[in-house]
């Protein structure tokens, strides 16, 4: 099969009436700009106005050009849709060509616009030039407007405004005659805050300390304490790793090679969050940490950290280690990297402009390649480096000298081994020869000693008839296991010597060069085999006037072009309207369960509009004004009245705001896969809180389920039954479990862990029977339930009531009601009857399992 150029297939023409033009209100007149052009842009402009060629001489970019028409005459007769060529062609479906046609609603809407007189909203521009044209309407789109700090709105219930965000939310609620829900109780608040900031449940001791703190500011102190915890970075780092598409393997091929050094980037992210690194710096380091290093500077710890940060740009799936020299695979690495950058930081579906002008947003195809040009000095198609070639050693000169000296010693052992090997082979051949009839021994021996190229046909035949004399280093063990073992002892010795070299660590980094920056071409229909004109590096055209992306004309140092640093500065420029909005929307999403823009990776035409645009802008401005520091923002959001609301639904609000878009209560949220697994480990007492380092491996068990563990299958892929103990590593937090793209931990996958192709902008939260069965029968669950029960017995003794209370506090961070205790104690005594051995223990484990699988444990109020 011919390899399809990347994305050529996805030229699939996709259109969505609802998103393209809002259904007109009854009394609203239809206008070209608002109602018609978005449809034409989605279906027609590629050939009629914005493409390379103008088909049929017809330009549909302006109303007057449509009236003027093309080779077949005027395209519309205002007032008479039936006589309008444009309407006829779309109505009968002969246009556009291809499978994707306008919907009936869209055809009808254009018909109505024509019969109403084909009006425009304003005066059309006199000059429009050729090709891609950004309309005034598009320029006015919300997310491209500068971020302005709105004044706080007036509300009736000023007493409910604890934080500025409350004013924005309350104003909208009051408009609808609603208000905030009552404050949640303290036990609920500490559990909510702990999961939000740490991804772990509070311990019973933390809960009682908080409940007992009756001085003013107890809640604020709680938030500060949580923000100071080093587990904070693990929780919020994990959120960032989703959008970065973090993985410990390359993906993009069936082999899915492991990335042994990716974890350094993961650790960098965790540390950065813990340090509350300003986000503008965090972004600059990730996009251009290498370029922030001055020329000639020594590589100190800070420089290593910045270099490690560029791992962000190495997270895309990369098949070029397997398919070396494959231009399509290389192209895909760049495309996926652009997708990660644009979905995580720009909030635009830039990838849609890879093959053609964006159908919905004002992004011409050339913009895609301008941005791509920023990365090509590092991802150079003319001088490609496969993943291993991009690793940067952290060896010092002293390390290198020491390693070389050790290598000399190891090489000496290798030499001894080779000599010994030759002796063994000779000896074995002699033995095999001795088994042959005397008269042919010498002939066979001579044949064997003759180099293959010089053997006569007779000699070759002779060796075929006596294959057993063809002894090689590889087959020696089949004849003489002792000799093979001896040779192996030499190899082992050499390996032991080599193991004494200083440990060589690497970082997965992205760096420019070597060599000059390649020219970047626009690809016809996104096909890398069809390069067109050269495109200069730059930013988005739509922002060019307000915030040009200036790329250094001359490389600032021989090592780098400074292009990515220019991009990083452009993104973090306070005037950039997108970055801060995208970021605060994401933070909001993780606290309130849903972004102010419901589509966090798309703030464009097809994305949702913000539910609270002023609030979003206020937050974005506040974030920048506060030095791009996230902890400050957490504190403000979490101490608000909005965040402290109860999650209980109020029937009186359901009719007005059934989806809780106005946030008149907190949503009930299910724990994400990692938080759920970590919470189970925390409650069972097994959690190993060690930070950082190499990932805990995953393996396939005997039925093919992905579990934590070291792979012990033999060379033929069969289970050996051998178990290599992980010594507690198996109980580390989920962020430290290897993210192998082809092997998502079964437990995590069931609870919606992302599949990284290339990244994840939003987690799903499903409710499926698979989860029920895992909670009922999975070995991990049963093991945690047993450990939990054991812990409860140790901490609470043998008395059932005490056990129930302790377990309840551990699992739910709450006190059981008397009825809860009654029911649980009754369950323990009844359940014990079902077990013949250790009935009390088994019943308690069963009770603990019920707690771990219950909704109260799985969800956060």
């Amino acid at each position: 099969m011919r390899r399809l150029p990347f994305l050529a297939v996805s030229l699939l023409f996709l259109a969505h009436t609802a998103a393209l033009s809002a259904p007109p209100a009854k009394d609203e007149g239809l206008t070209f700009e608002k109602h018609v052009r978005p449809i034409l842009k989605a279906y027609c402009l590629e050939c009629h106005g914005e493409g390379e060629k103008l088909r049929g001489g017809l330009d549909l970019r302006l109303r007057r050009l449509i009236v003027q028409g093309g080779d077949s005459g005027p395209a519309i007769e205002p007032g008479r849709p039936a006589d309008s060529l444009l309407h006829q062609r779309i109505d009968e479906g002969s246009m556009p060509p291809g499978k994707k046609k306008l919907s009936r609603d869209e055809v009808a809407l254009i018909g109505r616009w024509i019969s109403d007189g084909a009006r425009t909203a304003g005066n059309e521009p006199k000059e429009i030039g050729t090709g891609f044209h950004i309309t005034a309407q598009e320029r006015a789109f919300w997310s491209f407007q500068p971020i302005r700090r709105p004044a706080l709105p007036q509300v009736k219930r000023m007493d409910l405004v604890r934080a500025p965000i409350d004013a924005f939310l309350l104003a909208r609620l009051e408009e609808k005659g609603l208000s905030f829900a009552p404050e949640a109780d303290r036990a609920t608040l500490i559990r909510r805050a702990a999961f939000d900031l740490l991804g772990l449940p509070p311990t019973p001791e933390e809960v009682s300390r908080f409940l007992a703190d009756d001085r003013p500011g107890a809640y604020e102190r709680l938030i500060d304490r949580l923000l100071d915890s080093p587990h904070y970075g693990e929780r919020w780092g994990r959120h960032w790793l989703d959008v970065a598409g973090y993985a410990d393997s390359d993906g993009a091929s069936s082999q899915d090679p492991v990335r042994p050094w990716a974890y350094k980037y993961r650790d960098y992210v965790v540390r950065s969050f813990n340090a509350d690194k300003p986000f503008d710096l965090f972004i600059q380091e990730q996009l251009a940490g290498d370029e922030m290093q001055g020329p000639g500077q020594d590589r100190d710890a800070a420089a290593v950290e910045r270099l490690t940060a560029t791992g962000f740009l190495r997270m895309a799936p990369d098949g070029t280690g397997i398919n070396r020299g494959d231009a399509a695979a290389q192209n895909q690495v760049i495309a996926e990297t652009l997708k990660i950058v644009s979905s995580s930081l720009l909030g635009l579906t830039l990838g849609c402009a890879q093959c053609h002008n964006h159908r919905y947003d004002p992004i011409p195809q050339s913009d895609y390649y301008r941005l791509r040009a920023l990365f090509e000095p590092a991802y150079n198609p003319k001088d490609w480096r496969a993943p291993p070639q991009r690793l940067i050693s952290l060896y010092t000169d002293a390390d290198r000298a020491r390693a070389a000296a050790i290598e000399v010693e190891a090489a000496r052992i290798d030499q001894e081994r080779l000599k010994k090997q030759e002796e063994y082979i000779d000896r074995t051949v002699s033995k095999e020869l001795a088994k042959l009839p005397v008269e042919i021994r010498d002939t066979v021996r001579i044949a064997r000693e003759t180099p293959a190229a010089k053997q006569t046909p007779q000699q070759k035949q002779l060796l075929r008839e006596h294959p057993s004399v063809n002894v090689s280093a590889g087959s020696l063990y089949l004849y003489d296991q002792k000799a093979a073992d001896d040779l192996k002892s030499y190899a082992d010795r050499a390996a032991r010597v080599r193991a004494t070299k200083p440990v060589e660590e690497f970082v997965m980094a992205l760096t420019d060069g070597p060599g000059p920056a390649p020219p970047t071409h626009l690809f016809h229909r996104g096909n890398h085999d069809e390069p067109k004109g050269v495109v200069a590096p730059g930013g988005l055209t739509i922002l060019e006037a307000s915030l040009p992306l200036g790329v250094p004309q001359k490389a600032p140092s021989p090592a780098t072009t400074g292009r990515r640093l220019a991009l990083a500065r452009w993104l973090t420029d306070p005037r950039n309207p997108l970055t801060a909005r995208v970021l605060v929307n994401r933070f909001w999403l993780h606290h309130f369960g849903r972004g102010l823009v419901g589509t966090p990776a798309d703030l464009g035409q097809l994305g949702e509009r913000p539910t609270h645009p002023e609030l979003l802008d206020w937050l974005a401005d506040e974030f920048k004004a506060g030095g791009w520091r996230l902890k400050r923002l957490h504190r403000m959001m979490m101490t608000s009245t909005a965040y402290r609301q109860s999650a209980r639904r109020d029937p009186s609000k359901e009719a007005t705001d059934p989806d809780n878009r106005l946030l008149g209560r907190m949503p009930v949220r299910r724990l994400e896969a990692e938080a759920l697994r970590d919470a189970m480990l925390a409650v069972s007492g097994r959690l190993n809180v060690r930070f950082f380092g190499k990932p805990v491996p995953v393996r396939l068990d005997e039925v093919g389920q992905v579990v934590v563990g070291i792979d012990t299958t033999d060379s033929a892929g069969r289970p050996t039954g051998k178990v290599i103990p992980l010594l507690g590593e198996e109980y580390r937090r989920s962020i430290y479990v290897q993210v192998r793209r082809s092997r998502t931990l079964a437990m995590a996958e069931a609870f919606d862990a992302p599949s990284l192709e290339p990244n994840c902008d939003r987690r799903n939260s499903s409710t499926v029977a698979t989860q029920a069965l895992l909670l009922m029968n999975n070995e991990f669950l049963l093991e945690q339930a047993r450990a939990f029960a054991e812990r409860v017995r140790q901490e609470a003794g043998a008395q059932p009531r005490a056990q129930v209370t302790r377990a309840w506090r551990l699992a739910y961070a709450a006190e059981p009601a008397p009825k809860d205790v009654e029911q649980a104690v009754q369950f323990l005594s009844e359940q014990a009857r079902h077990f013949s051995s250790r009935p009390q223990e088994e019943a308690l484990a069963s009770f603990c399992q019920a707690l771990l699988g219950s909704n109260r444990f799985l969800y956060v109020d």
Binding site: R464, R649, L700, V703, G717, A746, S766, L773, Q823, N855
Partner: protein
């Protein structure tokens, strides 16, 4: 390029009733699940993954398949590909070139088959005396004597027959078929692997790997011992009343929680997922319970004979699963069961004795129930054996080395012409010589029988459309079709 808002979960939505992908071993359980999350954006290039029945590309002949995989490589020249000409070379040097796997034990002496062949059935297909039961159903099977994969070790050749490439990581045939067609059962896995108590075959769990297809399409293992299906049943001491009492208590907890969260549909839905789980447990238990089978049926499969009981049980299970709507069933023999490098004179009859009767019973049973017409049955391993001796240490100890250049498999039912012999090896059975059939041809033919066009059964991965044949030439072997 269009981003799908839900793509990073590979869980996708179908209006209000939703089917998705879940944990590996349990993914099949999702087909009745309902999800309550909503998609807030218009659907862009949505890919929906589920196990509901899908229409094939054209009218199919087969609706299910049972693959009896003989891992190790049965000696075709001792079982189904008689070479009487070899008798005169017996013990003499092989007149040609041979590639050995094990050079140390290699010999160039020809080993003529120690077993006799006879013609059977109306068709007169010749079958070795080692397979007396199979001999009774030859009119229903098509013997292909010209298989070849050309890669001389177990792992690579198994990969070739399973996923079309000689490497790990790609989806296997069964995964492709259930991806294309879904399953007819709503409460059982779409694709089942029945493993042998003597251990997993070479390449282990890759034998039923979904590769980069969503894990929903991975084979679900039914193990020979408890717990039969991972995650479906608890360990024995928690089974039955203990689990029921635990579930009752859990429901009490969840109902109390729901009472304090009125209107939270997600919490309510979770209660019903437990009911669904219970239904799946019941369905699987029923399918695995042989007590309702008649004595005659049990006898037919050899369940009354300690030597055939184990394999017969799994063949009978395969029939029950297919009968209940499972699409694809693999019945494995244990690790290297047929890899007769040594002592073939003793070992080969023994494994034939264990498997021959159950296999013939499966054909007869499917036929008498009217299932054979739509159920493809496959028998074969990843290779055959060489015509020469390995381990020339006396008649009792000789064996045969690997041969992937020419070997035999057979197909029956599901649109395959019975009573046919197709293709031939050379006079020593070493290489496929007449009408050779590669693993690609085999795959093209099977997909065709399922009504699937190999070029249209594609999955987008890594920036391109991938398929089982992956651009390799694969011919539908029309000559063996009804």
């Amino acid at each position: 390029m269009h981003t799908d808002p839900m793509r990073c979960t590979r869980r996708h939505f179908l209006a209000s009733s939703t089917l998705g992908v879940g944990s590996v071993a349990l993914a099949w359980l999702l087909q009745q699940d309902r999800l309550l999350a909503e998609s807030s954006r218009p659907e862009l290039e949505r890919r929906t993954f589920d196990l509901t029945p899908k229409p094939p590309h054209f009218a199919p002949r087969a609706r299910a398949m049972i693959s009896l995989f003989m891992q190790g490589g049965p000696s075709h020249i001792d079982l189904l590909d008689p070479k009487p000409q070899m008798a005169k070379y017996d013990g003499k040097p092989f007149p040609g070139t041979i590639k050995y796997d094990n050079a140390a034990q290699a010999s160039s002496k020809v080993l003529a088959s120690p077993w006799k062949f006879h013609k059977h059935g109306q068709c007169g297909t010749e079958v070795s005396e080692l397979l007396p039961h199979l001999a009774g159903v030859v009119d229903d099977i098509c013997v292909i004597r010209s298989m070849h994969t050309g890669v001389n070790n177990h792992g690579q050749s198994i990969y070739a027959l399973n996923n079309g490439a000689i490497l790990a990581g790609r989806p296997v045939l069964g995964s492709w078929i259930v991806y294309g067609l879904g399953a007819e059962s709503q409460n059982l896995p779409a694709y089942v692997a029945l493993t042998d108590p003597n251990g997993l075959p070479v390449i282990g769990v890759d034998n039923w790997s979904n590769g980069w297809l969503p894990s929903l399409y991975q084979g679900t293992v039914i193990r020979p011992q408890e717990p039969r299906i991972q995650n479906l049943d608890p360990p024995p001491h928690l089974k039955g009343p203990a689990q029921k009492r635990y579930l009752d208590y859990l429901a009490t907890l969840n109902r109390a929680h729901l009472d304090s969260h009125p209107g939270e549909l997600d919490l309510e839905a979770r209660l019903s997922t437990y009911e669904l789980a219970a239904r799946m447990q019941t369905a699987a238990r029923e399918a695995l319970d042989l007590s309702g089978e008649s004595e005659a049926t049990k006898k037919l499969y050899g369940l009354d004979d300690p030597l055939t009981r184990e394999y017969g049980t799994r063949c009978l299970l395969a029939r029950r699963l297919v009968e209940r709507g499972v699409r694809f069933v693999q019945v494995f023999t244990g690790n290297q069961t047929w890899d007769h490098h040594n002592a073939i004179r003793k070992a080969l009859p023994a494994v034939c004795r264990r498997t021959d009767q159950p296999i013939a019973a499966l054909i007869k049973d499917l036929k008498s129930r009217g299932l054979l017409d739509t159920t493809l049955v496959h028998w074969g391993g990843e290779m055959g054996r060489l015509p020469v001796i390995q381990n020339d240490a006396g008649p009792d100890r000789v064996g045969r080395d690997h041969n992937t250049y020419g070997f035999t498999m057979w197909l029956a039912g599901g649109g395959i012409k019975g009573g046919l012999v197709y293709g031939a090896t050379d006079e020593f059975g070493h290489k496929a010589a007449v009408n050779p059939v590669s693993h690609h041809d085999y795959h093209a033919t099977l997909l065709h029988l399922f009504g699937l066009d190999p070029k249209r059964l594609v999955y987008r991965y890594n920036g391109r459309e991938q398929s089982l044949l992956d651009g390799q030439p694969g011919r539908v072997v029309q000559e063996i079709l009804v």
